[in-house]
Amino acid sequence: MQIIGPDSLVFGVDDVPACHEFLTAYGLAPQDYSPEKGGHFVSLDGTGLEIRRRDDPSLPPALKTGNMLRMQVLGVVDQAALDAVAAELGKDRQVLRLADGSLRTQDDQGFELSFRVTTRRQLDLPAEKVNAPGDLGRKPNQLGVWQDMPTDPRTLSHVVLFVPDIEPAVAFYRDRLGFRITDTFIGTGPFLRPQANPDHHTHFFIRTPPYMQGCEHLAFHMGGPTELMLAGSKMIKAGFESFWGPGRHKFGSNWFWYFKSPLGCNVEFDADMDTHDDDWIPRETPMGAEAAQAFLFQHRDKWAPSGGPKPGQ
């Protein structure tokens, strides 16, 4: 199955203007937005979030848990890939073909799914470059950081779900949709990668009781760790609240910084994630603080050593 990953995540929220405030500060661009109806919030390649009022009649039904995630829109490479998804899922469930060409169905947990030929744009942007002895990534006179350098999220990276019935959930994504398991936190759940995307994960599942079903967090890729640090620092300075980070995960190697949000889930910046192919041999380890990150820091206000003894004192 030539699935690329989430093109869009749809939320039905109880405070649309708060989401606008948060998501624009996070760096997404509002499109067709109004405080009454909500709108889209897009990253540089056009992937992003759709934010609507909880009671918007155009939305698919809400989860019973109160979680605000209403639908995942998964992008596939072309029409043949879309037809393949329709043929496979049509074997045991209703798959609607909508007027815009997209498919609409549900996974085995009742999460709403939409599939479409991806609308993401190919990005032609340099990654953050690093200078090291023996390997200079930047040209002479090219700067590594400046205070107001752009920190726009580049693409929707991954979504993490609280999943009550995890074995059938994993089986659905792996056996029906062809996702690869890259790594697993034993007792928690697997990281999943669709076949048309080399990223370590576009999905991660966390085993939970039924009353928690929903979105745990979502993340966008940044251009590199400096962009991530700068973007997160701007959020803190503006009064937004960190949940976890900055740090660097072990599985996936991605830098992370999570912020709480009015979407009722954490919203993460990530950068520099590993990519894999089918030669990769999945790892397994019990979840815990040691396994979850290589290192973890906490933001502090800017400070500099100053005010010490003056020369001649």
Binding site: D14, D15, A18, N67, F162, T208, F243, P262, G264
Partner: protein, 115 residues
């Protein structure tokens, strides 16, 4: 007695968080009319507790009917602290007993200050 603020400083139906010397989390104060409710800014979802606002003082859900943890959307009853929806069902917030003195100052009771 630690004075957190004046009742008049709090918008009716709104919430604010206060740093208190000696406490390892903020104290959330929610005003309802002439009454105030105090809770530790500790979501009980994970061991040790985590702070709940998505922005400074943004503790309430959109309809302002509940205290919400904005990490995963747990909702808590403002008057009882009990979780009514989300990851903390069956758990509750830790109450911070408050009084309003004759001059209208919102104070923490001494017993809480020692913890």
């Amino acid at each position: 007695m630690t004075v957190l603020c004046r009742l008049d400083d709090l918008p009716d139906g709104g919430a604010r968080g206060f740093e208190v010397p000696g406490l390892d989390c903020k104290v959330i104060v929610v005003r309802k009319g002439e009454r105030v409710h105090g809770w530790r800014d500790f979501c009980p979802h994970y061991k040790g507790g985590t702070p709940m606002a998505w922005k400074r003082d943004a503790y309430l859900n959109g309809a302002r009917t509940h205290i919400a943890c904005h990490a995963h959307g747990a909702w808590f009853d403002i008057e009882t602290g009990a979780c009514v929806q989300g990851p903390c069902l069956g758990r509750r917030l830790i109450r911070v007993p408050l009084t309003i003195d004759a001059a209208g100052a919102v104070c923490m009771r001494p017993r809480e200050e020692r913890t």
